[in-house]
Amino acid sequence: MPLFLDDDQSMLLDSAREFIKSEGPVSHFREFRDKNCKDGFSHALWKQFAEMGFTGILVSEEDGGLGLGHVEAGIVLEQVGRNLTPSPFLTTAIAGVAALNHAGAELKGQYLPGILSGDTVLGLAIDEKSKHRPDQIAMAAERSGNGFKLTGKKQFVIHGASADMLIVAARTSGSEGNADGLTVFAVPKHAANMDVAPVRLVDSAVAAHVTFNGVDVNADSVIGEVDQGGAVLDVLLTAGRIGSAAEMVGVGGGAMDITVNYLKERKQFGQYIGEFQALQHRASHLYSEMEIARAAVLKAQQLLDEGSGNAPLYVHVAKAKAGRTANLAVREGVQMHGGVGMTDEYDIGLYMKRDRALNEFFGDANYHANKVAELHGY
C-alpha cells in the first residue's frame, strides 16, 4: 500500500475538512470556552459528528459502524486538531470504541448505539499520577459477590463529568508493575460511591479527578477477560496515542499555517517579516519537521490497520515525533507573531495551550521516545 491517502480516504478528507471547518472552527471553540459550559463541548456538534458517520469509523459493520481504520480516524482527528474543535471524538469514538470492540455483546449493545447516534460520551479513567504511567496502575478491584468493588483514584479523565460511562483500568490480581492482573471495567455514570470532580484545563477542556470509594460493579461490566485487561488497555492506549498524534499534527499544521500567513501580512522595519531570512529558515525547518511527523503518523496508522508487528514501535515514534513537532510549531508560532501572539485575541496562543494538553494526553514525547529505546533493548 503506497504511503499516501487512497481515493476513498481523500474523499473522506475533503468532507471532514469542509464539515469541521464550517461547523467546528476556532470561533466555535471560543464560544464554548467563553460560555464556560460544564461539558466544554457541544452536544449538538457531537450529534453532527455521528450524522457524518465519524463516530462509527472504528465500529465494525456488523455492529452498525463503518468498519474503517486508524488512517480514517486520523483524517478526522487532524481536522479536529487544526480547528481546535472541542469534541469527545478522540476519547469516545476512537480510544473508547477500540476498547469496546473487545467487549461482549451486552456491553456493546449498551453503548455502541449511543455512540453511533452521537448521544453517548465515554471517559477514560486510566492515569493515576500526574504523568502517564499505565504500567504502574495501582487501583484495586476486589471481588465482592458476583462482581467487583473498585477503590482508588484516577485523574486526567477528559469529559469525565459529562461521560455516560467511564472505562476504568484496575488491578484484580498481581501487584503494581505486573503485566497480568489488570482488568478493564465499564462503569456507568452516577455509580454509587464514585466521586467525580471536574477541573478546567489550560486548553479549556474539562477533565475530572475521579475517586472510587468502593464502587460496586457487576461481572458483566468487565471489558475483555478478568486479569487479562492489559490487552484491552493496550488497544485503548494505542488508539488514543495514534489518535492524539494525528490531532497534534493538525494542531501543529494549523499553527504553522496561520504563522506563515502572518509572516506574509505583518510588516516591520518597512518590509514583510516573512522577507527576513532568519524567519524564512526557521519556518522552512518547521515545514520539514511537520512533513516528517505527518508521514510518521500515517505510517503508524497504516501498520496498525495492516496488523503489522511493527505497529507498536511506530505508534511510539508517531506520538513522540508529533509531540515534539507540534510543540516546535506553537513555540515558533507565538514567537514569530511577536506581541500579538501573547494576546487572547489572536488564535496562535490557543494552539499553544491545546498542544500542551495533547502532548501530555496518552504519554508525552519523552515517555514514547523512552519506549522506543526500550523496544530496541537499550
Partner: protein, 398 residues
C-alpha cells in the same frame, strides 16, 4: 576584619533584624511583589513595613547616591548587599520600572532638579511608572513611532506639548501613576525627531485599556492620548534626542529581563523535580529523557549564572562590550522559557489545571505562558541577534 567584611556583618544583622519573616518567603508571581505607587494595596503589614524600613535606609536602591534616595553603596558593597539578601532569602522591598528603567536614565540624562524630584519618589515607592514605547504596527521598530507632541503655549501651563496618539504593551498602565513616553516632536527627522517625555497618567486625555493575554492576565494595556498637555520641563535629555535616552534605557530593561534566566534562587530545577517524578532503582529521576533535559538545563543555568555575575561585575567596573546587554537579554529569556517548558513537562496533567485550588488557580500554566513574552518584550530575540551581529560581530549589511 576588612571594611567589606565589617560591612557584610552589619548588613547581615540589619537584614536579620529588619526583614519580616513573610518577606523571606519566595515570591509567588508578579501579583505577590511590592510595586508601590499612589494606589498600591499592600498584601500585608509585613510588605508595607519592609518597604518603609528599606526606603528609610536607601536600601530600595542601594547603589544610588544618598541625595537621590539611595544608600550610596560602592559597587563592592552593593554586591555584598545583594549576596546577603539572597542568603537570607529576603524579597526585594520594591519592584519598580522606576528603579529598573527610568532611574538609570535620569541618573545619566536628568537635570539636578529632575534627579532630586523623581528619583526620590521612585526610591520611596511613592510613584509607580510605566513605559510608553511600542505602538500598534511598530513592535520592534521604534523609529516608526506615530504618537505626536505639538508645541503649544497657554497661561495655565506655559510652554508645553499637546500629545496625541496611542501606545501598546504599556506594562500596568492601568495601575501606574506616571508614564515615561517616547513622543515624536518633529515629523521630518526620523531619528532626531523623537523626545523622551514624562507625564502624569491622571492628566486629562489619558485613557488605558488592558490587553487580555493567553495567560488569562492583563499586565499590559493599550494607552490612548487625546490632547494631553505636557509641560516643557517634563522632558529627559534634549528635545529630539529621546532616542539616545531610550536606547540607553533599553539596555537596562534587557539586563532586567535577562535576569529571568536565573530562575527562582539557586535550586537545581532537576532537584526540584524529584518530588513530582520520583527516582528509579538507581536513584535517578524516573523519566530518563526528562532527566537528560533537566541535566542539560541545569548546566545551562549554572553557566548562565556565571555569565550574569561576570556581566554585572564588568558593568560596575565599566568593562564589557556596550552591546552585551543584548546578548544577556537573548540568552536569559530563552533560558527562562525553557525552564517553564520543563516545569510543565514535569508537572504533567497536574500542571494543566487552569483554575483549581490545588493548582493555585493555574499558577504553573499561567506562569509558563507569561514567559513566552520574555523573548518579545523589551526587544525580541530576533532583534537582539541582529544587534549582536551588527555591533559585536560587526557583520556587514542589513
Amino acid at each position: 576584619m576588612s571594611d567589606l567584611e565589617q560591612f557584610r556583618t552589619e548588613i547581615r544583622s540589619w537584614l536579620e533584624e529588619n526583614c519580616p519573616p513573610e518577606m523571606r518567603e519566595p515570591v509567588r508571581g508578579e501579583d505577590d511583589m511590592c510595586w508601590g505607587g499612589r494606589n498600591f494595596e499592600f498584601k500585608n503589614e509585613a510588605q508595607k513595613l519592609w518597604l518603609e524600613r528599606c526606603a528609610a535606609k536607601g536600601y530600595t536602591v542601594p547603589d544610588w547616591p544618598k541625595e537621590y534616595g539611595g544608600a550610596g553603596l560602592s559597587a563592592a558593597q552593593a554586591k555584598i548587599f545583594r549576596r546577603e539578601m539572597a542568603k537570607l532569602g529576603c524579597r526585594s522591598p520594591l519592584s519598580s520600572f522606576g528603579i529598573w528603567m527610568l532611574g538609570p536614565a535620569l541618573l545619566k540624562f536628568g537635570t539636578e532638579e529632575q534627579k532630586i524630584h523623581y528619583l526620590g519618589q521612585i526610591a520611596r515607592g511613592e510613584i509607580r511608572w510605566c513605559q510608553g514605547y511600542s505602538e500598534p504596527g511598530s513592535g520592534s521598530d521604534l523609529v516608526s513611532l506615530q504618537t505626536f507632541g505639538e508645541e503649544a503655549y497657554d497661561e495655565e501651563c506655559g510652554d508645553h506639548w499637546i500629545v496625541n496618539g496611542q501606545k501598546v504593551w504599556t506594562s500596568y498602565a492601568d495601575k501606574a501613576d506616571w508614564i515615561f513616553c517616547l513622543v515624536r516632536t518633529d515629523k521630518q527627522d526620523k531619528y532626531r525627531g523623537i523626545s523622551f517625555l514624562l507625564f502624569d497618567m491622571e492628566s486629562p486625555g489619558v485613557s488605558t485599556k488592558p490587553i487580555l493575554l493567553i495567560s488569562g492576565n492583563s499586565p499590559f494595556c493599550e494607552t490612548f492620548f487625546d490632547d494631553v498637555q505636557v509641560p516643557k520641563d517634563q522632558i529627559v535629555g534634549e528635545v529630539g534626542r529621546g532616542w539616545d535616552v531610550a536606547k540607553y534605557l533599553l539596555g537596562h530593561e534587557r539586563e532586567m529581563i535577562s535576569g529571568g534566566g536565573l530562575g527562582d534562587g539557586s535550586r537545581s530545577l532537576g532537584a526540584v523535580m524529584t518530588g513530582a517524578i520520583g527516582l528509579n532503582g538507581l536513584g535517578m529521576l524516573d523519566d530518563q529523557l526528562l532527566r537528560a533535559e533537566l541535566a542539560q538545563f541545569d548546566v545551562d543555568t549554572l553557566a548562565f549564572r556565571a555569565v550574569s555575575e561576570q556581566f554585572m561585575d564588568e558593568m560596575k567596573a565599566g568593562k564589557g562590550h556596550p552591546a552585551q546587554p543584548n546578548m544577556m537579554k537573548y540568552a536569559g529569556t530563552e533560558l527562562n522559557k525553557k525552564r517553564h517548558e520543563l516545569i510543565m513537562a514535569a508537572g504533567g496533567s497536574d500542571a494543566l489545571e487552569w483554575e483549581s485550588e490545588a493548582s493555585h488557580g493555574g499558577k504553573k500554566p499561567r506562569d509558563w505562558l507569561r514567559t513566552k513574552a520574555n523573548s518579545i518584550e523589551g526587544g525580541t530575540s530576533e532583534v537582539m541577534l541582529n544587534v549582536i551581529s551588527k555591533r559585536i560581530l560587526e557583520l556587514p549589511g542589513g
